[in-house]
Amino acid sequence: MPGFVIIPALVWATLLLVAGGLALVRARDVLQRIVALDLLAVIVIALLALLSYLRGQPYYLDAAVALALLSFVATVATARYLDKGGPFG
């Protein structure tokens, strides 16, 4: 993919990351904070994918898959903790 497509997309995704930080700060509830953190993880995954297209290195996508795994586990554990008072309760 040509660079003149990817560079603006990278700028766009970085701005989205800043706006996601704003959503994290503005969250009123701990659950809304979890939603914002999940969204931030998704934006970082998109950013890593774009970086991988720009550099032509598939290994950034490896990091994206690992980040998806970590964010999934973290979200589920936190939600279950808030639900029942323990991640395995």
């Binding site: 993919m1 959503a23 979890i34 999940d38 589920v76």
Partner: protein, 120 residues
Amino acid sequence: MISVVLDMAGGALLLLGLVLLTISLIGVLRQPGTFGQLHAQGLATGPGVMAVLASSIATENAATITFAVLAIVFIALTSPVSAHAIARAAHRRRPRRHGAAPKAAAPEGTAPDGEPEQTR
């Protein structure tokens, strides 16, 4: 010829994904309740990031496309589960507001008609 077509398809998917991510972020910023935010977030974790990852077809690099497919499958299987975990926690923390499943103990951090106060 094929390369041009793939480039255009990838660019269109990339644009679609970024627009969906933007709409989702606006929704999360604007919606007051957790359930509304979950609908907005589902827009990003489902179609948004999948469109961005699917635009890897334009790179024409087998390893990149393979990883992207792996990431798409993984995200498609995990994002409903995490959304469900958040929704269930939200439902159980304030069961009275939506009427279903009344519990004996009223949740303390809940305002009479509005949003729950900051609890933690």
